[in-house]
Symmetry: C2
Subunit: 172 residues, 2 copies
């Protein structure tokens, strides 16, 4: 946060993208938003991100139009991916896939399945049965072979069984 | 650099990936490596990244096996993408494409073309002519409609005309 967000002298699209999503924790927050997390307390409990950092990142994402803040029930604000935010799915998917390949000896912790035909998602984002590029709203996330004991928070427990991406997870 | 690289409590593949590539400047350095930049001085001149930061990032990438350090000619070390590094191409491509869509009013600054059939690269990484997913070594990078005046450094000047990804650019 003491670091500047901009990349002095850089004006390319990648540096602009990194000004929005390149800060620490931001892609993990967005990954959780794809899982369906919407509330501050649920992001905080699932990620263990310091609350001041989470506040800062959610505001950056809201200001950039990646997340929309909406009034939820019981007085909790909710942060929901916009179309612009959903367009970041390939980035989350590709980085996760790369991490699975090189840092998860027992295989992916989570796997993704095309809801329509039960095909598994290939690393390039296509369904292994119908070969189409599957949008996140048509994907189920399930525990994979590298899955270990779930944490105790509501989001982790929800994700121990199949859950459709973007469908809300609300822990409180 | 004062910030810890790890994400406390997180053990997923995405957090592991971000420990390697999630630091400031790292994805810009990798993008330049895909362009063919190999030498410290060329990264520094093209990116304008502080030299201490560049030193730190190159060492992180070397230690993680994303870049290999090799003795180049004239006593300059060269940093070359390993297979593990090349596997990050979709991340660089997706983030650049997202930035193009939302932050480049005149269109992409750079466009990518399949060398074999001159098809343009679609945002999902496929060739618009042959529909195959094109590996970076088969792509040419060219100035796009959003391209503006090149900077004065050798890398920028090299990239004013078509250049095949991963083919070395050596400015000195």
């Amino acid at each position: 946060m003491a670091l500047p967000k901009d990349y002095a002298g850089q004006r390319c699209s990648l540096s602009r993208a990194l000004e929005i999503v390149g800060e620490r924790w931001t892609l993990l927050i967005l990954r959780d938003a794809f899982f369906g997390v919407r509330r501050f307390g649920d992001f905080a409990a699932h990620l263990g991100v310091p609350r001041a950092v989470l506040t800062d990142r959610l505001e950056t994402l809201r200001a950039a139009g990646v997340l929309a803040e909406t009034p939820g029930s019981h007085g909790y604000s909710e942060y929901v991916l916009t179309d612009k935010g959903v367009r970041l799915w390939p980035v989350v998917r590709d980085l996760t896939s790369w991490g699975d390949d090189y840092y998860s000896a027992k295989g992916p912790r989570r796997i993704f399945q095309h809801a329509q035909d039960a095909g598994m998602l290939a690393p390039d984002g296509t369904c292994t049965i119908c070969s189409s590029v599957v949008p996140p709203s048509d994907l189920l996330v399930l525990p994979g072979p590298g899955y270990d004991e779930p944490s105790d928070d509501f989001v982790s427990k929800t994700l121990t069984t199949a859950h459709r991406l973007l469908e809300p997870i609300r822990g409180h």
